[in-house]
Symmetry: C2
Subunit: 186 residues, 2 copies
């Protein structure tokens, strides 16, 4: 079974014809490590689904420091949702931490597909709800937990991330220096 079909069918079931129709709205792209898929200042016209690889979304503050908003790995969706949904300029970057293979859907195709297929509207509605919950927990954690607790939560939730992502990026996600992270880590 196509990995995207397997992924969608965790939420809604599709016939062969329906999945072919869905897949026709996507295109495939291969990106090398360090290549961008979203850049600050552009209107983001694509939502990406990660077949293989690892990516990060982040913003750069006035002093040039990177702050990581989200990581993405296999089976995750990634884009700048504010720019994509509202069709306004992006405030963030998304680039590849590893060579990555992606499927993407354009804004127009996603609008068409969800308007025509209630099942796909339902699928993405569920995904949006889960994305919102993950961000709610990130806000709760930023308000409530110490850096050490946030480090342990991340390790518990995404153990694989720690094998794939350089420590300086974990630090940029937690909002601490590389040195502080080393102390937590020891």
């Amino acid at each position: 079974m196509h990995p995207l079909r397997k992924h969608i069918e965790e939420i809604v079931s599709l016939t062969d014809e329906e999945f072919d129709f869905v897949l026709n709205h996507f295109a495939y792209v291969k990106k090398r490590k360090h290549q961008y898929i979203v850049q600050e200042g552009e209107v983001v016209s694509k939502e990406f689904w990660i077949i293989k690889g690892c990516l990060k979304s982040y913003f750069v503050d006035d002093s040039g420091k990177e702050h990581i908003l989200q990581f993405g790995m296999e089976n995750w969706w990634i884009t700048d949702y504010e720019s994509f949904v509202k069709q306004k300029n992006s405030k963030i970057y998304i680039d590849c931490i590893e060579d990555s293979e992606l499927l993407y859907i354009s804004f127009e195709n996603r609008e068409k597909l969800t308007a025509q297929m209630h099942k796909m509207e339902r699928f993405w509605a569920k995904k949006s709800k889960l994305g919102r919950i993950a961000l709610q927990n990130r806000v709760l954690s930023l308000l409530r937990n110490s850096t050490k607790e946030r480090y342990e939560l991340l390790l518990e939730q995404y153990p694989k991330l720690f094998q794939r992502v350089p420590k300086k990026m974990i630090a940029a996600y937690l909002g601490v220096s590389r040195e502080t992270l080393s102390r937590l880590n020891s």
Copy 2:
């Protein structure tokens, strides 16, 4: 026009029959200031739409301090989405800052309504996307901005909130003490 119909029709258009059908899935409740609509530890079975009033969602840390996650006013939706969507125990409280009039829909009715009516699936999908974007901006702001900047952003986004909500709650939203807020305010 019913205020809920006006609100829904900002995203999808409904016939009279369709709106009656939608409204039949909701119930009305009036709450006094300080009354709860969600309590920590319970499975939240309702999503609320605010006809009139002002509410806050928050968690209480181990030292008994309140941290405010979200405010809600007229035309806003409020619940604990993690508890509501995943049907697990809530980590937060939601209570009324003013006497409030609410419409609510149960988890079962929302599932039924979105399964039967593509338009309502689309409506809530859009609302989830917007909620997710608001939280993404809150995370960006917590990582990027100083307390003073976060105070100014909140004032700019929701000027009405400052007339309706005690200063100590604004402080609990920003994650600072009442005294620090007074200094920002002067």
